[in-house]
């Protein structure tokens, strides 16, 4: 008999019981449903046949190899590690971009020519010359020679030794 005809020939109660049978080992069926199955099977040979068929089919359930779980975990952990590394490289790249943008900004602020190396200038820039006034050379009424530039010292010396 064609499978389609077989389904058509099954009445609603048989269909319901067969669908319950397909879930029988799951533990999801209520006590009432299990009783319903038992009572129906007692009087329905085709459904008993179906019950035996389902039991036979279930025995062909593929067994999961014991090695599969460790294999999956190894692969998953490796993938997670690679993701972490990629994320780290991403952060480094982002930091490099931020740094490059900062340098570029400093460069552009340096002046219209934009050709001078601001870092080099900063490193070699001379300190701003202190403008000395006579009074600042004196501490407690005494001249602080250590702080005086050479030309000032020479001038003082000339003044001192001049008649």
């Amino acid at each position: 008999m064609d499978p389609v005809d077989q389904i058509d020939s099954v009445d609603g109660v048989c269909l319901r019981v067969r669908e319950l049978l397909s879930l029988e080992p799951s533990g999801m069926l209520s006590g009432d449903e299990l009783s319903e199955i038992g009572e129906h099977l007692a009087g329905c040979a085709p459904c008993r046949e179906e019950s035996a068929l389902l039991a036979l089919l279930r025995r062909s359930r593929p067994l999961t190899p014991d090695i599969l779980l460790p294999l999956i975990m190894k692969k998953v952990e490796k993938a997670a590690q690679q993701r972490r590394q990629r994320r780290m490289w991403g952060l480094r790249a982002a930091a490099a971009v931020v740094l490059a943008l900062g340098v570029g900004t400093a460069w552009s602020l340096r002046g219209p020519s934009g050709t001078e190396n601001v870092w080099e200038l900063a490193l070699h820039e001379e300190p701003v010359a202190t403008s000395w006034s006579g009074g600042e050379w004196m501490a407690a009424g005494l001249p602080v020679f250590d702080e005086m530039p050479d030309e000032v010292l020479m001038a003082l010396l000339e003044e001192e030794i001049s008649p």
Binding site: M1, D2, P3, V4, Q6, I7, L15, R18, E19, S22, L23, P25, S26, M28, E49, E50, L53, L54, L56, L57, R58, R59, S60, R61, P62, T64, P65, L68, L69, L71, I72, M73, K75, V76, A79, A80, R83
Partner: protein, 160 residues
Amino acid sequence: METLVRRNHGVVYRFLVSFLRDEDDASDVAQETFVKVLSRLDGFRGESSFRTWVLAIARNEGLRLVRSRGRRKEDAPDGMDGFADPSGPVDEQVLREDEVERVRVVLNRLPEKQRLSVSLRLFDEMSFREIGEVIGSSEGAARVNYHFGIGRLREWLNEG
């Protein structure tokens, strides 16, 4: 993550054995599936059960393998080949193994959606709604596929 894998690797493996009809391929694709699950975990919205979401990923990974090979493994050889000679003395265990092998061969002859509906229902007690989500059909279509598949299996096994 290990709990998640531990709870779902069996159903994924069984689904892939049924889908790909090859245990080695199923094992390889199951591993790829969980790598994908890990990378897409943030995308799980809870619109379906976690199990069906994982199985949908498994199906996509299985399809990727199939496409990479150009086609799926050949249909299983004629299901009635290779059975033990019933005339010889065989112990019950051997008989049972042969019977199981025979059922697997016959199961593999079913069209894909019938095969998946039967295996997901009988091996993992999934609802027809869940089966429909996994195989890309409505709940009603999954139910019909299951019953048609059972009908065909009954017919073929009775022939044997």
